[in-house]
């Protein structure tokens, strides 16, 4: 009997997370810890390796939105929505040789995911139990297949699959979601959207304001954990119109608002006015002629440009193994370019996961501890035009490097390397007037009649219009242009950046794995971009006029 008790006690010591004493005292951590302890000690299928590592993530999302179209509410009388969801990562085997980093089939490199989790201790445990069980069965299967793959490919391991790393924690008290000022929000969206009524060419003008808060809870079996909330609010403005040339187009803007959920009427009005101004430009705009030459990217267009050509190529730096492919299509193409020149020496680029807000706006990549329990570190991504540091996880050990706390998980991927808050820091920032002058100077040098200023960097599948302006070298006057495409997008353009501006903006993105991050970018002058008209055709006139 004594011997039995000893073993029970010993097992208990092994499976309890190392930092258990410091865990926050709430049902989320109690449920995560208790189910994790049970699973690690008891979950086992005969003949299969046991689970050796578990990570649980709970997200409690609270959202309230009010929306209006042409002065009338079309959303806003609903209650606040509260949704608790859970993600579970299970690794079977051991740190040297485990089940992760292997894609079993097209959809399998995902955590186990549960939505609408009952918000009670037993409800949370029930969902975690179910997800852990499913995850373990799949992990055991992946483990066997991965071993077969390694044998077939004659892979000799020098480094562990999952390296050891000191585990960190970050705990902040979580305040409840504040009661949204529903009536005030409803009044504002009505007032702002009513401005569209006076514009004859607008077929619709809609405004939406949302308040949200995500409460994050994370615990892994090595003791890493975090608890913090991410409040957010944003304004969405959309204008539908048929322009002079008969094209049905949509202009849509999502504008982040301060995280304290304060409504600043003047700011809301300013942002709405800008969309109305863009709509007016679009109404009068013409299609472009093919163009090859210098282009000035406004901060928002520059963020799109850098996101597509740089950030998307600096993610998932440790390729997955799979029988499905030889080269992992989701792995960033810059992963082998550390030390190489990838950009002109106009700006340095940093990744700052610990930066929580910028100019009062919340940053979506804030991450004090990563999703493998490692303290997140700031990175110098690009310096002197060369790629310096890549985001690394505990699975980047194949190169002998240690994690720098950049493993990020989402509902569509298990933890993999990703950037968080990307900050572009120009070396010699120019004012907007200087940027425009530099553009005109370069155009004159190339003997061009006009150059382009892009407000959006065109994306293939974006449903909204791509708006730009031509600026004429002769007198500097501007003409609006719509319906543009980039002839050929190439990372070569990063080396063609001539200058960067002083004013910057925060833009939020999600990568293809649905991980949110922020990009703080100034305007950029790029020496050569090819612009061509898109293939869209004009639409017929409405059968009847707008009432």
């Amino acid at each position: 009997m004594k011997r039995k008790l000893f073993w029970l006690f010993a097992v208990g010591l092994c499976v309890l997370p190392a930092a258990a004493d410091e865990l926050p005292n709430n049902i989320y951590f109690q449920a995560m810890q208790d189910e994790m302890t049970r699973s690690l000690s008891k979950l086992r299928v005969k003949g299969s390796p046991k689970p050796y590592y578990l990570a649980y993530q709970l997200n409690y999302d609270h959202v309230y939105c009010a929306g209006a179209s042409l002065g009338e509410l079309n959303e806003g009388k609903d209650s606040v929505s509260h949704v608790l969801s859970a993600s579970v990562a299970v690794a079977a085997g051991n740190g040297q040789n485990d089940s992760m980093g292997f894609m079993n089939d097209r959809f399998s490199y995902m955590p186990e995911r549960g939505y609408d989790v009952p918000n009670s201790y037993w409800g949370i445990r029930h969902v975690l139990w179910s997800l852990t069980d499913d995850g373990y069965v799949k992990a055991a299967d992946s483990y066997e297949k991965k071993q077969t793959y390694k044998r077939q490919k004659n892979m000799i391991e020098q480094y562990p699959d999952f390296s050891k790393a000191p585990q960190a924690s970050f705990v902040e008290p979580i305040a409840g979601f504040p009661k949204p000022p529903a009536e005030q929000m409803q009044q504002w969206v009505k007032t702002l959207s009513a401005q569209g009524k006076e514009v004859p060419y607008l077929e619709n003008f809609s405004v939406r304001i949302c308040f949200s808060q995500r409460d994050n809870y994370y615990l892994n079996s090595a003791g890493g954990h975090y608890q913090f909330s991410s409040p957010k609010s944003w304004l969405s403005v959309a204008a539908n119109l048929r322009n002079r040339e008969g094209y049905k187009e949509i202009i849509s803007r999502n504008i982040p608002l301060p995280e304290d959920h304060s409504l600043i009427p003047a700011e809301l009005q300013k942002q709405t006015d800008q969309v109305l101004q863009s709509a007016r430009q679009l109404f009068e705009a013409q299609k472009p002629e093919p163009y090859l030459g210098p282009v000035l990217l406004t901060p928002r267009a520059a963020a799109d440009f850098l996101n597509e050509l740089l950030v998307q190529n600096v993610r998932n730096v440790t390729p997955l193994l799979s029988f499905l492919f030889e080269n992992d299509p989701s792995a960033g193409s810059f992963r082998n370019k550390a030390g190489m020149r990838i950009m002109s020496n106009v700006a340095d680029i940093y990744d700052k996961p610990l930066l929580r807000r910028y100019k009062g706006l919340p940053l979506g990549g804030f991450m004090p501890v990563d999703d493998e329990g490692v303290k997140a570190q700031n990175l110098t991504v690009v310096s002197a035009g060369r790629l310096q540091q890549l985001p690394l996880s505990r699975r980047s050990g194949g190169t002998g490097q240690n994690s720098n706390g950049h493993a990020r998980m989402s509902f569509s991927t298990l933890p993999r390397e990703a950037l968080s808050n990307i900050v572009v820091q120009p070396k010699n920032p120019l004012s907007s007037e200087e940027m425009e002058q530099k553009l005109l100077d370069r155009c004159r040098e190339l003997e061009l009649e006009y150059c382009y200023i892009l407000q959006e960097f065109p994306q293939e599948k974006r449903p909204t219009v791509n708006l730009a302006e031509r600026i004429y070298t002769k007198d500097g006057h501007r003409e609006p242009v719509f319906g543009i495409k980039i002839g050929e997008k190439t990372t070569r353009s990063l080396r063609d950046i001539l200058a960067a501006g002083q004013e910057d903006t925060v833009t939020s993105f999600q990568d293809p794995e649905s991980r949110e991050y922020a990009l703080i970018a100034p305007s950029l002058l790029v020496d050569e971009i090819e612009i061509v008209p898109d293939d869209k055709k004009p639409d017929r006139k409405p059968f009847t006029p707008k009432p």
Partner: protein
């Protein structure tokens, strides 16, 4: 004597409960605004090439409350108000229009649904939204019609060349109802208490307890001149418990309560008793022997019979299935012929709001095409008399009988409402069981079956497969010649419609309601079916397919209750 008594009982239990006063259609703001836009647009659209020859607006204002609970916690809670518009534009002519199914395009039932603004400013932004939706619908109809025209050139001759559309009669109707109100806090507490009943039961792998309320008004305005406002309300409380056997068979038990008033909800004592009964049944099933394939006499209990009629016969008498050559047309040429046992008559009557004190989900006053609902005798004394009709005529049935139904965002087709099975001769249920035992002995079978409950199933109506059905009973007993009953698991009912309905030997007098939601081309619609228990001379049972996944390795955490005092 039994027959007349039964009719009296039916009349007593079944009633069109429309107690609220009628209202003035013209004074309804949505009707007024929709009418203005319809007139303004239709005047121009009907002159286009191809013309938009018919235009209608379905506008719905809905308030919904949803609550889901499990393991003592709320998993989903939401109160929502929506205003949605669906525009129907028909291009071409009634003989051939844009709605005809193309030979290589089996699904053209989706229709855009527009989120509508409020109308506090006199309705200007509402009218602008109607105008935008109308333009889009007209453009889409014209585009679809050109595809239909091209398709018709290369298509083989249709067996039924009836027109694509018949204009509905003009209807003016307006009715309002007091909004329903439920104490959501009290309901939440009730569900939380009930959800804790499953804890400590290792064979219950998952559970869900829910309450859903939807209510509001439907408005219908069309180019024929119909102007309709009708209320709707659906309230459902219920639960589902799930289990799995070691050999991979999924099990479930549950109950739903459809009500319209708080007083119609079961008492908490009765509710908890039902949950306990389901827990016992799930445990019984998890330990029960597996069914063996066999043909034997059987009783289909009332609610199981209701589902059986809905699935096996009901879908086959939907009008559009007699017209489209991709369907099997089991009953198309059987009008005037016996198709079921002569003791049975089958009526679809959407005008019934209640039966036996139970609200019927298949109740509606006007269908989604603005046609007044009415009872339709499908089968009389075993002989097929009618089909359920939408505004798509078929050979011999030129007009709608108010069964054009759809979920929001889909184009209506003929669907069931409240399908009632009426037996001309009935016996008490106990006698029906005695007759089953006699039949088992007469046929020399080792046992027969009692199908307590059906969850649903599918019935194959397309020509690509056999005209057969497969239904999934959730609780089945074997009954031995000595009257002993034994629960079995993993039994599916299979058969063909023409044979199965002629095997009905007798019916009981225990009519009961099955309330459900039926899915087909035009989406999910609320339906009801009412039937007595029946004795079948033979029912074919086959084994249910099993999942290749084992049950979870560990028992549910609440079954062990290890984790301290949480």
């Amino acid at each position: 004597m039994r027959k007349s008594f039964l009719i009296a009982i039916c009349l007593f239990f079944a009633g069109s409960v429309i107690s609220q006063p009628l209202c003035e259609t013209a004074s309804q703001k949505p009707v007024e605004l929709l009418e203005q836009e319809l007139k303004r647009n239709f005047k121009v659209l009907k002159k286009q090439k191809p013309p938009i020859y018919y235009l209608s607006y379905n506008y719905k204002e809905e308030m919904s409350q949803h609550l889901e609970v499990a393991e003592g916690g709320v998993s989903w809670e939401k109160e929502q108000q929506t205003r949605m518009l669906q525009v129907t534009a028909r291009a071409g002519s009634p003989q051939m229009d844009n709605t005809r199914t193309l030979k290589l395009d089996s699904d053209n039932f989706y229709v855009p649904l527009y989120n509508m603004p409020d109308m506090t400013d006199g309705g200007n932004s509402f009218k602008t939204a109607v105008w935008r939706a109308t333009q889009a619908a007209a453009e889409r109809a014209q585009k679809d019609f050109s595809r239909v025209q091209i398709d018709s050139i290369t298509s083989s001759k249709r067996a039924d060349n009836s027109a694509d559309f018949v204009f509905p009669e003009k209807s003016i109707y307006c009715r309002e109802e007091e909004p329903l109100s439920f104490d959501m806090q009290q309901i939440k507490e009730r569900l939380i208490e009930a959800s804790k009943q499953v804890q400590g039961k290792p064979f219950i792998l998952d559970s869900s307890f829910s309450f859903a309320l939807k209510q509001g008004y439907r408005y219908f305005v069309d180019s024929v001149g119909s102007r309709i406002k009708t209320p709707f309300a659906y309230v459902r409380m219920g639960y589902q418990l799930y289990g799995k056997t070691a050999d991979g068979l999924d099990l479930s038990r549950g109950e739903f309560y459809d009500v319209l008033k708080t007083s119609e909800l079961p008492t908490q004592e009765a509710f908890l008793a039902d949950v306990q009964k389901s827990i016992r049944q799930l445990q019984q099933l998890s330990q029960a022997p597996e069914a063996e394939p066999m043909t034997a006499p059987a009783i289909l209990k009332n609610r199981a019979m209701a589902v059986f009629v809905h699935e096996v016969l009901g879908h086959r008498v939907e009008g559009h299935r007699q017209k489209d050559d991709s369907f099997g047309k089991t009953f198309t040429d059987k009008v005037g012929h016996q198709v079921v046992a002569p003791i049975l008559s089958i009526i679809d009557d959407p005008t019934l709001a209640y039966f036996g004190g139970v609200p019927l989900r298949g109740f509606y006053e006007y269908d989604e095409e603005g046609v007044k609902s009415r009872p339709v005798t499908i089968v009389q004394d075993g002989i097929l008399r009618n089909f359920l009709m939408s505004s798509s005529p078929i050979k011999g049935f030129a007009s709608s009988n108010g069964h054009g139904r759809s979920q929001d965002g889909r184009r209506p087709v003929a669907r069931m409402g409240n399908t009632r099975v009426i037996a001309s001769q009935t016996v008490p249920y106990e006698q029906l069981e005695a007759m089953l035992l006699e039949e088992i002995k007469r046929q020399g079978k080792p046992y027969g079956f009692i199908i307590e409950d059906l969850s649903g199933g599918f019935t194959q109506t397309s020509t690509y497969g056999p005209q057969a059905f497969k239904l999934e009973p959730t609780f089945v007993y074997r009954i031995y010649p000595d009257g002993r009953k034994e629960a079995v698991r993993g039994a599916d009912m299979v058969g063909t419609p023409l044979v199965s309905f002629n095997k009905v030997l007798a019916a009981a007098d225990d009519y009961a309601v099955f309330n459900g939601t039926c899915g087909a081309e035009s989406g999910w619609v609320p339906v009801s079916a009412i039937a007595p228990s029946v004795l079948l001379e033979a029912l074919e049972i086959e084994k249910t397919g099993k999942s290749s996944f084992k049950p979870p390795v560990l028992p549910p955490p609440s079954a062990t209750k290890q984790g301290g005092n949480r």
